[in-house]
Symmetry: C2
Subunit: 497 residues, 2 copies
């Protein structure tokens, strides 16, 4: 009886904010959800699948695929969480001197209570480490970033949410986003009831940006929706596109933002992930400050970074920061207030962020080991990025831009017309509206155990089809993945061409 | 020149979402901000203040006031973050066997990558620990909570935000909140553009609730705003009121929610903080499930808890969870989706939440030490709660309800009429609209260094004045605080009565 009521309840209609219903997040959407079902089936020896395990290529989560954490940050973090370990000579003797000294230094800054809420913006010492790192990275760009410009966040996502919340009050406020984009942006815009003003990246030009496209997107938005763009989002290196922007284009972007009074939200979480020797990461902060007046003193810029990506790959820490450049006082006041409502970013992520920004230096006890670990991970990522792009480009019906940076390839796929027609028939029969690339990704999963995200989850030029795969599976898994995709695509062509 | 431009920019007008401007959070608002300025002055030997240090009573942040963390959770947390310590016999030998075993157990569950994103709802082993704890706490209330009902969050705040976001899409959706309330609620409602439907707690009845007041508040909301209430928030034990609800009243609340199809959002973060021997914490989950049909199977309940309060006091970890009871499938689908957009709660907070819910048991190596630490902190909180309420009740013009639970006293203050008139004159002169109790709290701060939060930041019956102080300062500081308040209030009466 009780079970019957519960069952009724499970399907009971109930009110949900329509903006929440509208929000979508494909990275953990339909395909990964089906993958988790299959994983549970495999673990319980249920069902019949033509494979024994899954290859997760849907999410940039390196440590879930066997990437080892860097040792030094973990040593310091453990000591900061358990300061009493530092009082035990026997334990201290087993740890590198610089890890011990670093932990003691952080603890002296924190004072009593490593479990207390911090200041709303985060530990001052950690923000100082971030500011110093930024100033070094940006070759002394002037004026220098200070602790007042830095706020520590739970991953980069919470910085994104904070600024969109501050600048989007409803449909009258628009956000310019790249297409394809990381779906956090469209999801947040939907939750806020804001307007999307998409600008398309040029696939044929290595997913490059053009200022003229920005202008056209701006005008289209104003003409079609009447909304005012408030923010321009740029993801560099690109997610899901894997491209790295050049300084000239970045300067065009800054001029565009300046001309329209837009806040430039620079998602730079992949700043350490540049593999192509012909490319280098340049921060938007360095570009803005290097352009001289009026841009250097007036273009509003918020730069985001995270401990989740790069080489450190500490996704679960939810560490990160944003850095504000030319953000006016009236907006900063609101930033402080929203941060104070959120209380503070988690302390473990704050410590990890400080460590990411101040690794062991030459002469430190841990320096050699740290470099060895870091360089090993980076070299392996670089190798996989090149291999993946090269291999995928040779699959029937695929074209794949170079993976210059970030953690993803985003190949374009063409499919036989009959495969498309069949999807429509299946959708009619199943009573759903699966996008063609979602059908493709679902059937790839069911037949091979490879988990990718359909391009429709990121947005793409109408009429084109893509998927995103990470470069993160270890080499052996990656080879299996490429083989599976190749065989699946060959079968699709044999059956439907 | 550059500095001049920057100065212009600092005061430049810029667009901000008016909903964000409207949101307020007094716990870290005007008074604490002024306190931070004073603190900086004192550190730099600037200014002249009639005190040498501040007493922070504005925020429930125990470890910032010298409360020591419990050792066992910190040991396990450090080992989980730095698993390589477990491979070193010399280190393992220095740690209690149950901490080592617990860390090994958690690591076996986590598998590779303690730095990876977890499932959207959090580690399964941690959710299992939470579910087991809830089922024990609720005396086996049926049906038992399962891992599917539990989601780990960054503190309780992120659970609050998630459900308000799901149920409030604009002014047509209302949230019933107690007055006084914890200002996270009003801030989030403002950010979402929702409607507040306040119900007043009865101060003269020990801040009790009455079902008739709920009904009146509901009807007033519908009649005045046309909005539909979607959620009822109850904070038990109360913040800022320090009261503990009795089962009979809780049953009335459940009947009310059931009758109106409201989701009951039970903020139970102070569930371990009950000091009054005549009171006991009963969870809303136990009440709902104990009421029988139709309530036990139909009343939608979301219960929130946190690692920040209780005795553990690990605020900076941002650990917590929510437990869903009778939440329909359509809503659960959206919960999963929003959690997946947020990726996951921070892993350190997840581990801390598991540890809070499964402390060492009798027979474990750490059991005696853990109990000693726990009982010591609890006894001291209990002593301070009683002392504070007793002392404040004897201050001129004060009345103070018993602090039955939570971490706060919320005394009512009456002030001479001329003090009120003077505030209006000062406001006119200063060009601001400081509430009378904010003026009082500001002048208390400036004259004594004691930081409290004015009642207007929490809401109060029109015409009444209050302030909130925590019970957390160590005894010596608390005595100074009470003395300072008494002397200040005496001066106010001497000068303006």
């Amino acid at each position: 009886m009780l079970r019957r009521i519960s069952r009724c309840l499970a399907s009971a209609p109930c009110y949900v904010n329509p903006r929440a219903v509208e929000a979508e997040y494909a990275v953990r959407g339909l395909i990964p959800a089906r993958a988790d079902e299959i994983k549970a089936d495999l673990a319980a020896d249920r069902g019949t699948y033509p494979f024994k395990s899954l290859v997760y290529c849907n999410i940039g989560n390196p440590q879930s695929l066997g990437q080892m954490p860097l040792t030094f940050p973990r040593q310091v973090m453990a000591l900061v969480d358990a300061p009493f370990l530092l009082e035990d000579e026997a334990i201290v003797a087993r740890l590198p001197a610089d890890a011990v000294a670093r932990a003691r230094g952080y603890l002296a800054e924190i004072g009593t209570g490593t479990g207390a809420y911090t200041e709303s913006y985060g530990y001052r010492f950690a923000r100082a480490a971030v500011a110093a790192h930024i100033n070094e990275r940006d070759h002394g760009a002037c004026p220098a970033a200070t602790v007042e410009d830095i706020c520590l966040t739970d991953g980069a996502s919470s910085g994104v949410k904070l600024f969109l919340q501050l600048l989007v009050g409803g449909a009258r406020d628009a956000v310019m986003i790249p297409i394809p984009q990381y779906p956090l942006y469209t999801a947040q815009i939907a939750l806020l009831g804001g307007t999307k003003a998409p600008y398309y990246l040029r696939e044929a030009e290595g997913w490059g940006m053009r200022a003229a496209d920005l202008q056209a997107a701006y005008e289209r938005c104003v003409a079609e929706s009447g909304a005012t763009p408030r923010v321009l989002v740029v993801i560099n290196p690109g997610n899901p596109t894997g491209n790295v922007l050049e300084r000239g284009v970045m300067e065009d972007v800054v001029r565009f933002c300046h001309a329209h009074g837009l806040l430039l939200l620079a998602d730079e979480v992949y700043q350490e992930n540049v593999y192509d020797a012909r490319r280098a990461f340049v921060s938007f902060r360095e570009v803005v400050l290097g352009m001289g007046a009026p841009y250097s003193a007036e273009t509003m810029l918020v730069s985001l970074h995270s401990t989740s990506k790069g080489v450190i790959g500490e996704c679960g820490r939810r560490g990160g920061y944003f850095c504000m450049t030319n953000v006016p006082g009236a907006l900063r006041e609101q930033v402080v207030k929203l941060c104070s409502i959120n209380l503070c970013a988690n302390v473990n992520g704050q410590v990890m962020t400080a460590l990411m920004c101040s690794p062991p230096r030459e002469g430190d006890a841990s320096h050699a080991a740290y470099r060895r670990e870091y360089d090993g991970i980076f070299a392996s990522m670089k190798e996989r990025a090149a291999l993946l792009a090269r291999e995928l480009a040779t699959v029937r019906g695929f074209s794949c831009q170079a993976v210059e940076g970030a953690m993803y390839a985003f190949p374009q796929i063409t499919l036989p017309a009959r495969y498309g027609a069949r999807n429509e028939e299946l959708n009619a029969k199943e009573g759903r509206r699966l996008a063609l690339d979602a059908r493709w990704a679902l059937e790839l999963l069911e037949s091979s155990g490879v988990v990718v995200v359909p391009g429709s989850g990121f947005g793409q030029e109408p009429g084109t089809l893509h998927f995103r795969t990470t470069i993160l599976p270890p080499l052996a898994q990656m080879e299996r993945m490429v083989r599976a995709i190749r065989e699946f695509q060959d079968r699709v062509y044999e059956q439907y061409a």
